[in-house]
Amino acid sequence: MSGLAAIQTSDIFGRLTWDAFKHDAIEASVGVGTLLLMVFLIVFLTYKKRWHWLWNEWLTSLDHKKIGIMYLIVSGSMLFKGIVDAAMMRAQQILSVGDSFGYLSAPHYQQIFTAHGTTMVFFVAMGFIAGIFNIIVPLQIGARDVAFPFLNSLSFWLFTVGVGLLMVSLMIGNFSGTGWVGYPPLSGLKYSPDVGVDYWIWSLQISGVGTLLTGINFFVTIFKMRCPGMTLMKMPMFIWAVLNTLVLIAFSFPILTATLGMLSLDRMLGMHFFTSDFGGNPMMYVNLIWAWGHPEVYILVLPAFGIFSEVVATFSSKRLFGYVSMVWAIAAITFLSFIVWLHHFFTMGAGPKVNAFFGIMTMVIAIPTGVKIFNWLFTMYRGRVQFTTPILWFLGFVIIFTIGGMDGVLMAVAPVDFQVHNSLFLIAHFHSVAIGGVLFGFFAGYTYWFPKIFGFKLDEKLGEYAFFCWFFGVLAAFIPLYVLGLMGATRRLDHYDASTGWFPLFAIAAFGVLLVLVGIGFQVHQLLYSIKHRRKNRDITGDPWNGRTLEWSTLSPPPFYNFAVIPQADARDAFWEMKKEGWKGRGDEPYEEIHMPKNSPLGVFIGGLSMALGFALVWHIFWLAALSLLAILACIIVRLSEEHTEYTLSASEMKRIEKEIEKRHHT
């Protein structure tokens, strides 16, 4: 096809030329900044002689808790990047009015909003939930590890490769500017011939494989590795939420992979799945991407619902209200989330009956969601509510998520959606539910489980300040957007006329982003301050909040084998019941020998090779793609032929470790 021939390629470097390294001042400074940070880290690690430690204790570790912490570190830094993207967009929008065109070129602005969406959904929200799954799920079901520890490490590295490709696009070439769901024909070869869309595709493809593997891994973990006594209806609510999330992942991520696969066939081989001409159908892409995209929304928010269920019950010192109804509500949401995708494009011109069906199904989801909120409120009712920061995040969630949910139902009324579709009203809606729901849920979980992970609590005062900044910041950043949308402001504008009268509202929104940045400042300060004063806030008991579930029955931080003796769960709030029946704390138990997974560097290797593969496919360096694919296969074969992937921890060795921890706690 002439479309392919038009692109200059060489055998060795594919499409890669020196031009790919040329950027304007703003882009270059971001790229150079990232590089400097990496150089600094390398020098720092070398100076401190920490490479060995990093490799053995972290990068090659198959310990689910360490993998979880690595997820949180990657996602935390991506959250910072995503917020900087957001701040850059709002800055452009308050500068680029009337005769002024701001400080960003239109293509650069479009890359920023695409990167913002991609980062926040795939690398922040997905990374946070994967991190929390990793750390909490085995502990909460009383297991020593996940079902497939190596697969878990591989998932993490594939996720990190997705992040890596996105970051490389800052320095070599450019990123996609077609929005985070990349509708063709705009994302097709005809209108986006450069590498941006390819970076987007391969970054999502590779991290998507990681997500799917995580989904299957934890699905098996929950089904096969629960401790004795924990029947399905005795599982903590968080586990129920995670289980449904995993079902969603297993059913929806293959759709994403196939859809992006077809798009890349269009782009690489000149096929016509989604082109406007030669029988292609871009509307098919839009259907498919949302057949994945809508379940994805619930993949993000269900774990947050699970976290709130734990947090509210614990800090109200009361059983979770309406457990059975909560389980059914989650299951209903899981099912319904697959039959609402068309509400993302009522404006495509489907008939009134089709629109009405998908609109009504969308509204129906509001019922189980509403039920959950009522159940949480009645968990607090006749409880003893402690206003710790996790509860503050919960209260903030109820307010902001309910506002966002109400607008969601409003937009399910298709004729109303015609007037707000793709406007800033929509942006305000999904940020209200995504920040108010997912992010606030994550922050609640982060504060709640922090002492379990690290052995000391976070500072409450600073957490409270962070919450207030976030809460009012989010309101200030998004309430004006609702109004702007109703005024006719569409999303993704890098410029608008002064006569529109939108400026004051954009200015308030920008102020909101600043407030959120201050909130993040408090969170960073909180983390550093709490590390510095960790002795003061140390958690020796393993149960700092008077918890209800099994993760609180082990030490903080848990030893690498989680539980010296696998617990027995006889009731829903297993640990709470144990304490009621006079649990005396961890004593000298009859230990048994156990098997734990050995470290493996193959996850890192396959990750590195996938990075090369992704980079090669973006730039059409086909020899490198073939080579790295072969090497990946070789790694898989090596792993499969390894016989001794586990080692034995003897009972006496475990006793020694337990004694040592005991001694450390008393000094």
């Binding site: 096809m1 015609f418 005024m487 006719g488």
Partner: protein
Amino acid sequence: MHKNLKLAFFLFLIGSLVTIGLIYFFSAQIAVLSPAGMIGEKQRSLLMISVYVMLLVVVPVFILTFFIAWKYRASNQKAKYSPEWDQNHTAEIIWWGIPLIIIVVLGILTWKGCHDLDPFKPIASDRKPLKIQVVALQWKWLFIYPEQNIATVNFFEFPKETPVEFEVTADAPMNSFWIPRLGGQVYAMAGMRSKLSLIANGEGSYYGSSANISGEGFAGMKFTAQSTTQEGFDQWVSSIQQSSSVLTLDAYNELVEPSSYVPPQFFKLGSPGLFDDIIMKYMMPMKGMHSRGNRS
């Protein structure tokens, strides 16, 4: 702690009241809330009714949240404490039931609204509707009047109180055709023919734009829709019919070249079947017509 919470609560309360007040007083400046035609009016009233119905649940939720959290705060030892109480079927039936009723009401509104406000449905009127064919280009809007034999770019006029039937397509990536004060929106897709019917009550000029990202010059893809009297419209049409610039196939191919922030242009229509040709070009490659990067 409690002091800060109270402060935050009052800040939130005052903020909410101020916001609602501002929206109420400035609603004339908010396009969707101050529609200028029947379709927009119906969409606004549907919006308002839905909001009111939902507030029946949302307001109690807000009040309950604050009330319960505060009443059962740990320091209030006088409040009842029943740590094992976790089930009450009556209560649960109420909060499965009330949202269900509200969704049934909204569902009926949606079903009716979807049929009544189907963009493809013509507006009932004793006046003959005006046909305007809309083509989204990179990055401007082409308006073709097949019956008046004229075409315009980024500006169009139409008589008030007369239904306007838009046929919408694209010779570009997907866009969305939206005039907020008249009513919403339909996608403009290459090779597809979408329809939208709108009407204006009075004379006025209305902001319109593309609501779907379509590439580099997307932000400059704006147009003005102007409603006027029938006489004014006729005059405007005949002035363009006498103009010397003609939209031939060559002129169209020139217009298709990407450009943004394009000032209004006016043409006599040189090629009467232009709109259908533009749609057909994606069905089968046509001779003499090409767009940027068209592979044939």
